[in-house]
């Protein structure tokens, strides 16, 4: 293969992963389902929150809020998306609400709302990648985070964000090209 990539396992990893949770939900065993989702996704939700909010304390708050909302919403789960995908949607919406909240606005000038504050300390092991990600528009950063750091497939990202798969691909392409250029510029 002329272009092997390190993200090749993505296709297989989520298949059937949440079937056990769906089964628990069908049987209304909400506490058990919640524990499974917490064990499986708390670190991933936190990473998503970190990527969106760029602040560990706020990301942890958003992760708490996400799981609280999940707990309250479990009886309403309608199986249209997998529980994991549904949870990511809750997480992303929670982060965006936090991002736009009055308390956060107080710490930022209005014109900086689309650009999160730089983290006090590096959040990623690769600081150059982190700096470049910070320069992306929010939607591109979210798509890159979900696709790479969370290893979600394009169709899952589309469902989480409520946008067509083609739009996800388009954001992914633009983000990759922007990142390549930014990395090249810093060399």
């Amino acid at each position: 293969m002329f272009f092997a990539t390190s993200s090749g396992a993505r296709e297989y990893q989520e298949c059937g992963m949440d079937d056990d949770v769906q089964d628990l939900l069908r049987r209304r065993r909400y506490a058990d389902a919640f524990e499974q989702l917490l064990n499986r996704y708390e670190a991933k939700v936190f990473r998503l929150a970190l990527a969106l909010l760029r602040d560990a304390a706020r990301a942890e708050d958003a992760t708490q809020e996400t799981f609280l909302k999940l707990w309250r919403a479990l009886p309403d789960y309608d199986a249209r998306a997998s529980p994991g995908t549904w949870l990511y949607t809750i997480a992303r919406n929670t982060c965006l609400s936090a991002f736009r909240s009055d308390s956060y606005r107080k710490t930022l000038p209005l014109d900086a709302i689309s650009e999160p504050a730089a983290p006090a300390r590096p959040l990623l092991a690769d600081m150059e990648v982190e700096r470049c990600l910070e320069r992306l528009p929010e939607v591109q950063r979210t798509v890159i985070t979900l696709f790479y750091l969370q290893e979600r497939r394009v169709d899952e990202v589309a469902r989480m964000l409520g946008i067509p798969e083609g739009t996800v691909k388009s954001h992914l392409h633009r983000a990759r090209l922007a990142l390549s250029e930014t990395i090249k510029e810093t060399r």
Binding site: E42, T63, F147, L172
Partner: protein
């Protein structure tokens, strides 16, 4: 296939299921185009770096204790 088409197809392939075979036209184009070969190499490097860019920060040890305290009520409807 020209350079623009090859690069678009390459990016599409990167966003798709990786088990799928690559379009032989992309491979053929890249084999004969140095600029696209470099583009592909840059994308491969970026792909590896993004995949490896795992956050260093983790949840605090109190996370679950706090969450469970907050979960205590309200309970979901049954």
């Amino acid at each position: 296939m020209n350079c623009e088409e090859a690069r678009a197809a390459l990016l599409d392939w990167l966003a798709g299921p990786m088990a799928a075979n690559t379009d032989p036209r992309i491979a053929n184009h890249i084999a004969t185009c140095e600029a696209c070969r470099q583009f592909a190499a840059a994308q491969r490097s970026l792909d590896a770096r993004l995949t490896a860019a795992v956050p260093q920060v983790s949840l605090s040890p109190e996370f679950r204790t706090t969450l469970r305290a907050r979960l205590h009520k309200p309970q979901p409807r049954t």
